[in-house]
Structures are given as structure tokens and as C-alpha cells.
């Protein structure tokens, strides 16, 4: 795998970790109705993510060969297409975020202000997910590895 593929996988795993980090307190407070007492049980997602970051630094720096460039012309093209896919996803999600609440809440409906940052964060995270998936899909179209 080259650096761009590794970075895309790193982005995907980071996205999954963010989902876990956000879901864990939500499940603890609203479903289990209890918050863990010990430091480890409260902050284990962050500790695991820290270990993952350190391991990724080593993983991302390792090259297939000493002369391998960080990125080449094909990587540029793939990233450009992936950025376009991410941009399109942002546009679609923003439109959905504007239209869907109107149909659910009606013309006189009200959304609390503190919901807006969560909507923005969610759109950003999904755009990053789309970008990383687009990179990996395009690499998958490049033909099978003929040699190790």
C-alpha cells in the first residue's frame, strides 16, 4: 500500500473511533442509565485511540521502497476525484439538513440552537468518510497487485 491508501484507511478507522467515542457516553447515560466509576472505564476509547495514533505514525511512515515518492500524478488525480465526491456529499447533506426538518417539524417547528453544531460535525464527518472511501474505491480499480 502506498501513503495515500494508508492515509485513507487511517481516516476510515478514525471515523469509526469517533462514532464509538460518541456512542459510548450516549449508551451509558441514556440506555444503561449509569456512568462508569473508574478512570479506565470512563476513558478507554480515548486511551485506545491514543495507542492507535502512535501505531499509525509508524505505519504511515513505512514505505514500500526508499525511493518511493509520497504521492505521484495518479495519487493527485485520485485525491482530486475524492475531494469532488466529498464536496458533492456536503452539498447533498446540507440540502437534506435544511429540507428534512421542515417536513418533520412543519412550518412552525423550532430546532434548538445547540443541535446545529452536531449537524455541522456530522456533515463534516460524513464528508471525510466519503473522501476516504472514494480514495480506496479508486485504488481498487487499479488492477490486482501482480507482485509483492
Amino acid at each position: 500500500m502506498n501513503k495515500t491508501q494508508k492515509a485513507a484507511i487511517f481516516g476510515l478507522v478514525t471515523f469509526l473511533f469517533c462514532v464509538v467515542v460518541m456512542a459510548y457516553p450516549f449508551i451509558s447515560i441514556f440506555i444503561l442509565k449509569s456512568w462508569p466509576e473508574s478512570f479506565l472505564s470512563q476513558f478507554w476509547p480515548m486511551i485506545v485511540y491514543f495507542v492507535f495514533i502512535v501505531a499509525s505514525i509508524i505505519f504511515l511512515r513505512k514505505k514500500q521502497s526508499p525511493a518511493e515518492p509520497d504521492f505521484d500524478e495518479r495519487d493527485d488525480l485520485i485525491k482530486k476525484n475524492a475531494v469532488l465526491a466529498g464536496f458533492v456529499s456536503v452539498c447533498i447533506l446540507l440540502a437534506a439538513a435544511c429540507i428534512i426538518p421542515r417536513f418533520i417539524l412543519g412550518d412552525e417547528g423550532v430546532i434548538p440552537v445547540h443541535v446545529l453544531p452536531f449537524i455541522n460535525l456530522g456533515i463534516f464527518m460524513i464528508a471525510m468518510l466519503v473522501y476516504n472511501v472514494a480514495v480506496l474505491i479508486q485504488y481498487g480499480w487499479g488492477g490486482k497487485d501482480a507482485q509483492n
Binding site: M1, N2, Q5, Q64, S65, A67, E68, P69, F71, D72, E73, R74, D75, Y139, W141, G142, G143, K144, D145, A146, Q147
Partner: protein, 74 residues
């Protein structure tokens, strides 16, 4: 409009040049191994600069490495 086909015989040239590996060709051309794989598989058409670099690596002309299969415009 008919699809433009650019084929190549990079794989044969690699084996004819001391069984060069894809990684060695990638290092010589200044690209990643995945790019060489995609070019050999016909999934990616290199830029003019990269085509010249690959041809020079084999000591060949560009036309001897890459062939245009599209419709004859004459």
C-alpha cells in the same frame, strides 16, 4: 465517440530487461508501484512526462512502449 485505447507492453519489456520488478520500474520512473500496476493493467493512462520516463528507463521510444488503438483520423 469511440473509446480511446492506449495499450502498452511494459510487462514484456520488464522481463526483457533483466526481469525488472514493478517496484524497480516505479523507483526509476519516480512513481509508486500501484501506478505501474494500473498502467500495465490498462486502468490508467500516464501523462506524457511519465510515458517518456518509462520509455527512457527501457531505452526505447515512447511509441515502442505505448500504442494508440483508437480510430484512424486520416
Amino acid at each position: 465517440m469511440p473509446k480511446i485505447e492506449i495499450t502498452n507492453n511494459i510487462r514484456r519489456l520488464r522481463f526483457d530487461n533483466g526481469e525488472m520488478t514493478q517496484q524497480q520500474l516505479a523507483d526509476a520512473a519516480g512513481v509508486t508501484r500501484q501506478t505501474i500496476i494500473a498502467i500495465e493493467a490498462g486502468k490508467y493512462s500516464p501523462s506524457l512526462t511519465l510515458a517518456f520516463k518509462i520509455a527512457r528507463t527501457f531505452g526505447q521510444k515512447v511509441e515502442e512502449v505505448f500504442q494508440y488503438q483508437g480510430r484512424n483520423l486520416q
